[in-house]
């Protein structure tokens, strides 16, 4: 950047950590923690209301067509299980949403987005009063439908720079996962925060929403004012504030290239991830809610590699009952069948507090009573979930995944609980499956070190790279002072993963990766070279990873590992990957 020019325009750049890829240009909107109204309202002239109404109608039509196509893709024998989607299809034309939005456009003479937002908010508000947790949660269905239409609405004319200031970029100190999911993120262009790192849940959600974000900027909220024009470069982890005309033009072009490149990749998402030398890798999606199955299917996912069940537990005052958990698991398993759904049992931690069971004040929750430790301490809560999963397994292809295993006795104890649950289900005459695959998360170094012993006890390993890296390198990924040291390509991490894969292979057991390490193309040569059998990631990352795998040869990466293992630092390894596979993997839009 030219200094003199920047003095005149006031352009400056902030550097942070890339939360999710993409580029957006727009006005800054500083949020307090209350949440935000991000849809701009503008008035349309009286003679324009009808064209606004037809714009809304065609958005609804497109959204319904899109959904019908998804439903049509569901195999005949599972057709009756698509009821959630069929319900959504009906909801598009529901009076309370459809007719009301049109009424509002006509009466208030406002843009369709605002009218839809208002109608949605009114409908959702009715649900806030409902005390039954399951019925109350149906507000999500309405939001889901509204979002689908909104995407159609705002997707139009996005290339035009003058239209951009209708939408905003969020600037916040910190967004927790719950807040991130509350805020209607797909109505905004992107977001940036002072805190957080690449693998925080906030960024995982941003990636699933497919919007760019930069985290860990430290000073964003103090340096940026409301309505400042900013450019978020989620690929590089930078934010440019008050850009000069020249910078603006350059980034408009970069954004155009990025969009084209991404569209290319998404188009081939349905094809299998078959490497250049003919090895096919199942590429799975990580999800938090049954509804997200749609996103996994849309992106060509081969199953669910990680269904985080915590979201069924948070934001409520009691624990969900067996029926409710069963319903949710069944929904997911049925929608994904015959592909596998890997259901991770309850993993509560400091990031995701459950209202019905406030975490005891722990100085260091990451090392505290969480996940399997919590479940074994509360066998009643655990058994309820296990029963629900075993019952859901009767409806498709489910796997159980146990989080935070750190010793063999935890597996033994869990197997006893699973046996007990199965015996009870048998006695009570329920439909269930006991022969379900049971695996463990390898995310605590002690489990990695004991992989040889544990491989005898379970059906598969799934490496949770986020935590494994955090615990191995002793780095809190949410701490901006050390987040830059969090590196999946650290030689210690690579050696640990290698040992786990080798132990599993000795016992003929597969090893999967479900951490965000799997979503970064730069890590692929190492993961393939180590012999990982299956990768799971945020649904939006699936098409790109599939695309890159098709251009790699597994035999090649295996040989490449010999060189990697000679290197002693993460930066040397990164350099090696860049030199060897840079052409294939590197983001070439900046060329």
């Amino acid at each position: 950047m030219n200094n003199r020019e920047s003095e005149v325009s006031g352009e400056f750049t902030l550097s942070g950590i890339s939360g999710s890829p993409g580029i957006c240009i727009g006005k800054a909107y500083l949020v307090d923690r209350e949440g935000v109204d991000v849809i701009e309202r503008y008035f349309v002239g009286q003679h324009e209301t009808e064209s606004e109404v037809s714009r809304f109608k065609s958005a609804v039509k497109n959204a319904r067509d899109e959904l019908s196509a998804i439903i049509a893709d569901v195999p005949e024998e599972l057709r009756e299980n698509t009821y959630i989607l069929e319900t959504h299809l009906l909801l598009h034309k529901d009076k309370m949403l459809y007719d009301r939005t049109i009424d509002i456009i006509r009466k208030d003479q406002v843009n369709a987005e605002w009218a839809l937002k208002k109608a949605t908010a009114r409908a959702v508000l009715m649900f806030k009063k409902i005390s039954d947790p399951y019925l109350g949660a149906r507000a999500a269905d309405i939001e889901h439908v509204s979002d689908r239409v909104m995407r159609q609405l705002v997707g139009i004319g996005e290339v035009n720079i003058s239209g951009i200031d209708k939408r905003v970029i969020l600037v916040a100190t910190h967004l927790t996962p719950a807040e991130t999911s509350q805020i209607q993120l797909n109505r905004i262009m992107g977001f940036i925060t002072d805190r957080g790192g690449k693998t925080s849940h906030t960024s995982i959600i941003a990636r699933s929403l497919d919007i760019p974000s930069v985290l860990g900027l430290e000073t964003a909220t103090s340096m940026i004012k409301n309505d400042d024009l900013i450019i978020v470069d989620g690929n590089r982890g930078t934010v440019i504030v008050n850009p000069t005309e020249e910078t603006l033009l350059r980034y408009t072009e970069l954004r155009r290239r990025y969009v084209i490149r991404r569209a290319d990749i998404v188009r081939s998402g349905d094809l299998p991830a078959e490497s250049a030398d003919g090895v096919v890798f199942p590429i799975m999606g990580n999800i938090e809610l049954p509804e997200e199955v749609v996103g996994v299917r849309d992106n060509g996912g081969d199953g669910i590699g990680l269904f985080r069940t915590e979201f069924l537990y948070i934001g409520r005052n009691d624990f969900p009952g067996e029926e409710e958990l069963y319903e949710k698991c069944r929904e997911t398993v049925e929608l994904m069948a015959p592909h596998p759904v890997t259901i991770r049992t309850l993993d509560i931690n400091g990031d995701k507090e459950i209202q019905s069971m406030p975490t005891p004040n722990e100085v260091n929750p990451a090392l505290g009573l969480r996940a399997i430790r919590f479940c074994l301490r509360k066998p009643g809560i655990f058994e309820t979930q296990i029963r629900a999963i075993l019952r859901a397994a009767a409806h498709g292809n489910a796997r159980i995944l146990l989080p935070m295993i750190s010793g063999c006795e935890e597996i033994t104890e869990t197997m006893r609980i699973i046996d007990r649950a199965a015996e009870a289900l048998e006695r009570e005459g329920f439909d269930y499956r006991r022969d379900i695959e049971i695996g463990i998360m390898i995310e605590v170094p002690s489990a990695a070190i004991l992989a040889d012993a544990m491989a005898d006890m379970v059906d598969f390993f799934s490496i949770g790279t986020n935590d494994l890296i955090q615990y191995t390198l002793a780095i809190d990924r949410g701490n901006p002072h050390v987040a830059h040291l969090f590196n999946p390509l650290h030689p210690a991490v690579i050696r640990l993963i290698r040992y786990v894969v080798d132990c599993a292979r000795d016992k003929n057991k597969p090893t999967y990766i479900c951490g965000e390490m799997a979503a970064d193309p730069m890590n692929l040569p190492v993961l393939l070279g180590l012999g990982i059998d299956e990768l799971s990631m945020a649904p939006q990352s699936i098409p790109e990873i599939k695309n890159k795998i098709r251009r790699l040869s597994v035999a090649d990466t295996g040989r490449f590992m010999v060189e990697v293992l000679k290197k002693n630092t993460a930066s040397d390894i990164q350099e090696l990957i860049k030199n060897r596979f840079g052409d294939i993997l590197y983001n070439d839009i900046y060329a």
């Binding site: 009821y83 959630i84 069929e86 319900t87 009906l90 909801l91 529901d94 009076k95 309370m96 949403l97 409908a123 009715m126 649900f127 009063k129 409902i130 005390s131 039954d132 399951y134 019925l135 109350g136 149906r138 269905d141 309405i142 029926e323 409710e324 319903e327």
Partner: protein, 90 residues
């Protein structure tokens, strides 16, 4: 209003009137000539709107009054009634 245009039902499926049953009701009610109403306690909603039905928050065991405005909709009313009786096949 004649008696046959009004009937009481009990929500018998365990999860109550959630999205799927609501959709099943609305689908039928949309075909009606006149309006079909669902009443629980003093609240009345439009049976052709899933959202409206959901907003009633009928849990298992709730008593609901079904009402049709047009005589030609008696058959539809009967079908909705039988959905309730079968517990929406759940």
């Amino acid at each position: 209003m004649s008696e046959e245009l009004k009937t009481d039902v009990i929500v018998s499926n365990p999860l109550g009137l959630h999205a799927r049953p609501a959709a099943m009701i609305a689908k039928l009610a949309m075909k009606a000539d006149g309006d079909i109403w669902l009443t629980m306690d003093d609240e009345t909603v439009d049976a052709s709107s899933i959202i409206d039905i959901l907003s009633l928050a009928c849990t298992n065991g709730a008593r609901i009054t079904l009402e049709a405005e047009s005589k030609s909709d008696i058959e539809i009313l009967r079908k909705i009634r039988s959905l309730f009786e079968k517990g929406f096949d759940e």
